[in-house]
């Protein structure tokens, strides 16, 4: 209508044309309004409002994703609630186990009652297994990613764990995940019995060492570097895209400006150029030279870069370990409770081969590279078993750092893992041949070696304390002359000497203690505690039963802390649900505002437009009828 032209002379076609135009415009607007009213949406195709459409599309996408996130949250909440139910059942079972423990280690209990309790504790174990093997929506609650396996199974005197400790998570916002399960490690200490290398296995570099494994796995930042020879000569080497140390060496050597190779110790890169005073710099503020350990000014005609410290990988060759000294290949013996495996390493070339050999040995262990990328770890799948690793005639296990020397055995591990007891002040007194006495306080001793040292120090030259031939057995020799007997007795009412196996009298100035029975690595958790209780009941040993109370308490604490973590995850999911609900409501509001039709306004406009349309129609029918010709006679 805006283009309705006004002319002084109006031709027939103009008259009809204008009317047709007006009617078409009116019809167009009417149909548009009808569609708006029918769909309630203002923007149906992007060209209706291109800018608004892009926003609406993005918002609708967010809305659809919110629904997915809500589903995820619900799934996570369901899974965690199921896990919580299972853990609380097991917690109750542990309480029952503790009641049995207290009653059966008391004075009123007899061998008969303990035999009966063995049956009951057996039932508790069964119920615990059933609860720990529960599934949610067909998926094991505690099996980690190995969901198709029943995670816990009794095998002989042990409970074997078949799953892994992967913790599932659900996405609750773009790129944000909340953990939606509790691992068997957290809840039951599964796979917690670990023997790891005692020291960094320190592999050296090889040409095929990946650059991303350098600096303990941090990798290097690549770019171009500039090398000057101090006499005006220079070269720029582009290292980007290099994958291995060999690639870097090839590129450095490529134009013949410098000679590059691994240094003699194979820990870094050696650069040399005859008669030059080399300077290596970054290009464009990169980090390549620095990260490759070769940055520096006026380094001379040849120099060794710094230690690049490659991380341990499955592909690392065993010959590169221990600063290039390698590992002796006789093999190792793994003892895991009732299972023992001798592992032959003569065919193993790489760390991966070694891990495979250990993992497939049938000893109920898994082997992996430690999280720091410097050690290997052997992990037991068994609860109720002690894990020990020994050399198989050679030094393989020792070189891998998997054998603990007797001196370094932790005192907590002594006596089957019950440790030693000490008291405030002196722990025991040693009577010597010359009639003098030595008071010994071993508070603060962490290892067996430290205990020996402390006894020796207290003796001040009057006695000698040592370990019996590499065994966990203390020998004390009286160095004084006299007729008195060498005797060790308790001080301050402590049981320390007892627990160190050296209480009593020596013969011939020598007191040989009893075997301190250091435990291996063992799982600390509900299954271990209950299995140990069953053993103690079967063995009719109330003292051991009594001592197991710590185990049971530790297992309960572990379970409680897992449930606390679980609660935290649950509440994070609940919070996410609220956040998503809020966000959804807000976005829906915006979409309505952007895309919604204002019904009142649209109806009014529809009314106006209809009236106008009718007016035009009636005008047309009236005026188009009449021409002067009608009046000509």
């Amino acid at each position: 209508m805006s283009s309705f032209p006004l002319f002084t002379r109006v031709s027939e076609s103009l008259r009809f044309g204008n009317l047709a135009h007006t009617l078409a415009g009116s019809q167009g607007r009417l149909s548009r309004l009808e569609a708006d009213l029918a769909t309630g949406e203002r923007v149906r195709v992007p060209s209706d409002d291109p800018l608004g459409a892009t926003r609406i599309l993005a918002l609708q996408r967010t809305l659809r994703r919110s629904d997915v996130f809500l589903r995820n949250v619900d799934e996570g909440i369901g899974r965690l609630s199921a896990a919580d139910g299972s853990l609380s059942t097991i917690g109750d079972l542990l309480v029952r186990a503790k009641e049995i423990l207290i009653s059966q280690s008391g004075d009123t209990a007899t061998a008969d009652t303990r035999a009966q309790s063995t049956v009951e504790i057996g039932q508790i174990l069964e119920e615990m297994l059933a609860a720990a093997n529960l599934t949610f929506a067909g998926r094991s609650l505690f099996a980690g990613s190995e969901s198709d396996a029943e995670p816990f199974r009794i095998e002989g005197q042990t409970v074997v764990f078949r799953g892994d400790t992967q913790i599932g998570s659900v996405e609750v916002a773009p790129g944000m995940r909340v953990e939606s399960s509790v691992s068997a490690y957290e809840a039951f200490g599964a796979l917690s019995a670990t023997i790891g290398s005692r020291a960094d296995l320190d592999p050296v570099l090889a040409r095929d060492t990946m650059l991303r494994d350098l600096h303990g796995g941090t990798g290097v930042r690549l770019g171009s570097i500039e090398i000057r020879d101090g006499a005006g000569g220079l070269t720029v080497v582009d290292l980007s895209g290099a994958e291995t140390v060999g690639d870097v060496l090839d590129r450095l050597n490529d134009d013949g400006f410098v000679e590059a190779d691994l240094d003699a110790a194979r820990t870094g890169i050696r650069l040399s150029r005859d008669g030059a005073d080399l300077t290596v710099m970054e290009v464009d503020g990169g980090y390549a030279a620095n990260d490759l350990g070769i940055a520096g000014r006026e380094l001379g005609a040849a120099f060794d870069g710094s230690d690049l410290d490659p991380a341990l990988r499955a592909s690392t060759r065993l010959s590169l370990l221990r600063d290039g000294a390698g590992i002796e290949r006789t093999g190792l013996v793994v003892r895991n409770g009732e299972r023992t495996a001798t592992i032959d390493l003569s065919e193993a070339d790489t760390v991966g081969d070694l891990l495979n050999a250990i993992g497939t040995s049938g000893a109920g262990v898994r082997a992996r590279i430690g999280a720091d990328g410097r050690t290997i770890e052997v992990v037991s799948e068994l609860a109720g078993a002690d894990l020990r690793i020994e050399d198989a005639g050679g030094t393989s296990a020792s070189e891998l750092g998997l054998v603990t020397p007797v001196e370094e055995i932790l005192v907590d591990r002594l006596n089957d893992g019950f440790g030693i007891s000490t008291v405030e002040g002196d722990d025991f007194v040693i009577d010597l041949a010359d009639g003098t006495t030595v008071s010994v306080d071993i508070d603060g001793a962490g290892t067996l070696g430290e205990v020996i040292e402390m006894i020796g120090a207290a003796g001040a030259g009057k006695l000698e304390a040592a370990l019996e031939g590499g065994e966990a057995r203390i020998r004390i020799r009286d160095l004084t002359a006299g007729t008195g007997a060498l005797r060790i007795r308790a001080a301050n009412g402590s049981h320390t000497a007892d627990s160190l196996g050296i209480a009593g009298e020596g013969t011939g100035g020598v007191l040989s203690g009893s075997d301190l029975r250091p435990s291996g690595a063992r799982v600390l958790g509900a299954f271990q505690a209950v299995l140990s209780m069953r053993d103690a009941l079967q063995a009719d040993d109330p003292d051991r039963l009594q001592a197991l109370q710590t185990y049971l308490d530790e297992a309960s604490d572990r379970l409680l802390s897992a449930r606390a973590d679980l609660g935290g995850r649950l509440s994070r999911l609940e919070l996410s649900r609220n956040r998503i609900d809020d966000e959804k409501a807000r976005i829906e509001e915006i979409v309505t505002e952007l895309n919604g039709v204002d019904l009142a306004e649209a109806l009014v406009r529809y009314q106006e437009e209809t009236t106008l349309y009718q007016a035009v129609l009636s005008m047309a029918s009236q005026s188009l009828n009449a021409t002067l010709l009608d009046y000509l006679r």
Partner: protein, 571 residues
Amino acid sequence: MSLLSALGVARSALDAQTASLQTVGQNIANAENEDYSRQRVEHVAAFTDDYVRFQIGTGVRIARIERVIDANLEEAIRDAASRLGDLDARDLFLQRLESIFGEISENSLGQELSEFFDAVSDLAMRPDDYGARVTLASRGETLADAIRFVEERVRGVRKDLDGEIRTAVDEVNRLTAEIAQLNEEILAAEGGGIDVGTANDLRDKRDGALRDLAALMDIHAVETSTGVVNVVSQGEFLVFADRAEMLEYETRADDGVIEAQVRFSGSGRALAPASGEVAGLLAGRDEIVPTIEADLDALARAIIGEFNALHGTGTGLEGLSDETSTNAVSSVGTRLDEAGLPFEVRHGSFSLEVRNENTGRVDAYTIAIDLDGIGTQTTLEELSASIAAAVALDHPEIEASLTSDGRLRIRSTSSAVTFSLADDTSGVVAALGLNPFFTGSDARTMAIDARITDDPNRIAAGQGGGAADGANAEAMAALRDRRFLDGGGATIEEYYEGMVGALGVMARDASERAEDQEAIVNHLGAERSAISGVNLDEEAIQLMRYQRAYQAASRFLAVVDGLLETLLSAV
């Protein structure tokens, strides 16, 4: 000076009024003829007879019957028609394109993308749920189908545009031939330029043809002193006097569409009008639609490439036992980054992990892809050899070979031994299409790997863990939020939305401009109509006027006749 000459005056008057009446009749008859310009009769006094002291009139004569037109207006109308033709064409095909991408709230590619990624997230959460796998497989298939379908329809628009271009060019040829023909007829009718401007109806026809031609392509029309119109476009004569220069086209295949390349037959120059319907159609076929096709291809490529790179290095519920790459190299002896693979291969490496399903033993072999330009460069032949060499000692049951059509095949001959790929820094897994989720390399060829639909357990949700290992699915789901398109500025969905948004802006712009231009054309038409159009009332008045004049002339004749009778009765 005689009664007889007075009779002559009466006759001339009757003749003139008759002619005028006829013209009025012609005007009324053509009242609804759009091309018609109303005609006006110009009366002049006839030659006078000279006497000694005075002159006496001999009646009336028709000086000319002329069209009431404004020549400048005609040119403005033609220009406006050219622009409208261009914009209308754009408006039409943009609307068609827009409809292909679907309505905002209903099933559209955008929704398919969302649902596909939703299914990936779902699998990440429930990797051990067969239903989640089936859903993802079917979502992937639907997505690939949707992208292919959209591409096909966009290509269809290009095909349609090509057809319309051919039709329009045929129409241009018809019109130029008609104008040339009319030029010839007008020249003949106007006596070779003596009575320029008298062949009214022919000229109306020619003006109409010129307006139609202008709607198709921008032209410049020049009337010469002899009354012929020469038509020029792009500096080339389309019509010169009675000769028309034909446009011709040759066809060539472009990406599955046979396209007509239009050119001037004389000079061979390509037709590239600045405006007019042909310009709009050409812009659509050669610029706008190809841009959208390229955007779609980029989208499909991104999804295929990135998704396959992750999928190829993940693990399904069962390991791989016989895997042949889906993409072939042009030559097995060419370095991989130049071997015609659809995705980029860089210097790097990947890891081949061989698993013994019975013992659980896993051996990993790093396979280097050497493409740094120093020493030997990896070819498919060497890749196959280096895989075979790596596994030879521990796993002779793993075989790597080349197929006759340039693909890599890795096979385990033992049912207990499977393999998987991991840690690919070279891009070779996606480029070769090993253990892929999608196949193809652009919007037209994108499809889901048939083995995935046959066996959804193949979907690589994990990274070497158990059945509930969703680590790889999580990584694939994270693709959704990664901005790697548009030079790192857009996620897959944002890119798509940007594409649709840009199309929306274009469509909106074209339709608004077309509407504005239509208003201009209407206004000019109205202006022309105001000048040249027929008004029936006006014609009715003219009719009465000439009727009266005729009646008066008849009366005059009767009087003269009476006088003559008186005279004759006197002799």
